[in-house]
């Protein structure tokens, strides 16, 4: 089906499309290549030669990064040095769990609000909007006391609970997605005696699979790159993002030198890059929707 579409797509369109995309690609790849080249430069070389090729190509930055990108954590048991591999592991758990929680909660609530016309739904919808506009100022102290009071401070599970919030733009995106699905699907199912729960899990959820996947991917990446919250609430298990943050503000000028910073950033971004390359088709999908006919 799609092959036929491409053949009939106008040539003008293709040319314009390709040129715009290429232009943007070039504008993005040049600084990216610069970043990569810089990561292979010696520090002094960079000071006097910011944009040329390295006088000496060196892997030192990468080798040293593994040593230096280690974080020292002080917890109740004493001092602990956490290495890159462990931080990587922490990041994966953190991003997966938080991403999933942050995707699931709005999915559940927006479904209820979009499809079930109780008065409460309207209230929730407006509440979400107001909540998005209300800035959270000076709430850190109360957050800490609540989290400690519940006994979930410094645990991964605690972080997942904190992230199980339906507030935010994800709610609106799911809402739009669910709104555009006709209720006829559900009617058919209800008539056959299926429970609401079955309708949700077996009919509706699959229909928003790509949206769910897209939001999850975006959340995963956000949480992978986030360091402010884990810094405060999960101090014993630092993530690579926190390692990067320590790197950025390190007092040692060898670490804050630009070649080293580029190295660290590239190292930290590489896993996400791989994940994205693997899953990009699933997310920006080419799934067809044939629900009503089937």
């Amino acid at each position: 089906m799609s092959k036929g579409g491409v053949q009939k797509t106008s040539k003008v369109f293709l040319i314009i499309g390709m040129s715009m995309l290429l232009l943007y690609t070039v504008s993005l790849l040049i600084p990216t290549f610069w970043a990569i080249i810089t990561s292979f430069k010696e520090r002094l070389d960079f000071i006097t030669n910011k944009f040329g090729l390295p006088k000496v190509w060196t892997f030192d930055n990468y080798i040293n990064a593994f040593d230096l990108l280690q974080v020292t954590v002080y917890d109740s048991l004493g001092r602990k040095d956490v290495y890159l591999s462990r931080m990587f592991f922490n990041s994966v758990i953190y991003a997966l769990g938080c991403g999933f929680a942050h995707t699931l909660a709005p999915c559940l609530v927006s479904y209820a609000v979009a499809k079930y016309k109780f008065k409460f739904s309207g209230f929730i919808y407006n509440f979400v909007i107001v909540a998005m506009l209300l800035p959270s100022v000076g709430t850190l102290a109360s957050e800490i006391s609540i989290v400690k009071g519940l006994g979930i401070y410094d645990t991964f599970f605690g972080m997942f609970i904190m992230r199980f919030s339906f507030l935010g733009s994800n709610f609106l995106i799911f809402y739009a997605a669910f709104k555009s699905i006709s209720w006829e699907y559900a009617e058919a199912g209800l008539m056959d005696g299926a429970s609401h729960f079955k309708i949700f899990t077996q009919i509706m959820l699959p229909l928003v699979k790509t949206t769910f996947g897209a939001i999850f991917l975006l959340s995963f990446i956000t949480y992978w790159n986030e360091y402010t919250t884990p810094m405060v609430f999960l101090p014993s298990n630092p993530t690579v993002a926190y390692g990067l943050y320590c790197f950025r503000f390190s007092p040692k000028s060898a670490i804050t030198a630009v070649p080293m910073q580029m190295t660290a950033c590239l190292l930290v971004s590489f896993p996400i890059f791989v994940v994205f390359v693997i899953f990009k088709n699933k997310i920006m999908g080419n799934l067809t929707m044939g629900g009503l006919k089937g």
Binding site: R86, L140, P251
Partner: protein, 535 residues
Amino acid sequence: MKALKKVLALTMALGTALSMTACGLGEHRENYDPNKTLLKVGLMEGGIGRVWMDEIIANYKAKNPDVDVEVVYEKELYNHNNLLTSISTSGIDVYFVNDIYMHEFVAKDYFMDITDLVGQQYEGEASILDRMNVDVLKESYEINDKYYAIPYYMATFGMVYDIDLFEEKGFYFTADGTFVNPNSFTDGVYTGAGTLSAGPDGKTGTVDDGLPATYSQFKSLMEYMSLYNVDAFTWSGKDLYYRQRLLAAWWADYEGVDNWNLNLTFSGYDTGLKETITPETALKLQGQKGKQYATQFAYDVVRGGYFDDAAYNSGSQTHTAAQDEFLASCNTSNPTAILAEGQWWENEAQDTFNGMAKDDESLAYGTRRFGMLPVPKADDTAFAGAKSAERNTVIVGGGRSVVAINKKTEKADLAKDFFLFANSADSMALFTKYSGCVRPYDYELTTEQYNYMTPFQKSTYDLVFDENTDVAFLDVMACDLRINNTSFFHDWMWRSKLPQGTTDDPLTGFKDYSKATVAQYIQGLKDYYTTWPSN
């Protein structure tokens, strides 16, 4: 392609798992001897470094074999807000941190009362309180007649100049007022024709001989430098405080320490303005001629182009990048002569020194010579506060730095003992030996310790402790109005409402607005503050 991706993912997962198991699940725990009492010290890690603390601790452990000490080095986590959040549960016993607002910590009862501690003698030495030698500090650290913290460090700030470059290009004045010939120094001694001028202190045979003594000399020096394709100045484009401190050095030297201190205490008589200043009328201080002097200097630098272009890279020129530029520029055709920096800068830039030394040993840390360029005296000698013309006033930071004991400590006696040890004269000497910075107390260095320092560190040490020098603190909480309105007063010294727009420092303001004048800037300092806090 799919298979490749799967292989890639698998490899990454495996690699992680393997490297984790190799290093004990990716973590390594430092275990301290359970038979010893463990003391935890928190140290703010900055340009000052940590070598001095390590040695003090080694000495302490040698003296107290049943004690072990763990040091926590943090930077961002020890800024004011983060520390406020973490101190009550951190388990740290003694803190050494840079600028915080101590009063908030005291109000929340986070610091232990150490009034007795600072008054008591330690091993035959005078007490900490007696050795504190800056009055305005002594007063500001006293809260409700008690002491909860003492000052941690003191570091001067100013114009760091490249002595080797100056000698090579001949950037010195002879007694006749002409420039010396290039390369007329051997081993730091002038071997050219005539003698060097007396310099700002007016005495020959001192370390500032040949340096510009008056403002017009300074200006002509900057012009002369540009003829040689030398940029006079560079600074950090990104860090506002470096530019502000550079100008504060000029301002303080003109006014002298007594008039300068009015900006901290808001009470007293200003000999320049010939007015009594009170907290309600403190806005008048914007009219101090010293500030105008500094602004004029900024104006001339900007309009004359006597700076390296990178200094204005506000997105990318951090203070360490500025150091690197300054150091590396000596090998280029467009060197930079002066860097606006603090006493700790060589410590911070050690890696760059080491890197450059690999190719050329004369550029190594401790071998290359730098000095602090004294602020020239203003041309107008009619200044009523004539005392400032004879004295050397240097600007220093650290007026809000803190050494304190955590109220929640569970080892109070040990913490107090360590506190006294780490703030004894001997420990302070170690501090200076390794960091090059000083502490606002009386103490002395041994010859060996003194010689350990680099030429720059030695010269600034001499400068700060010279009997002719007065020390002017950049920021001290010495006035209730300022304590109660820390936000308001954070930028009040330099924020100006120019007709063209508002700016936070003259160096940027004059660059952004090509039509701005000095008079407009000074007027703008007052215009910005249409309301003034009342209590």
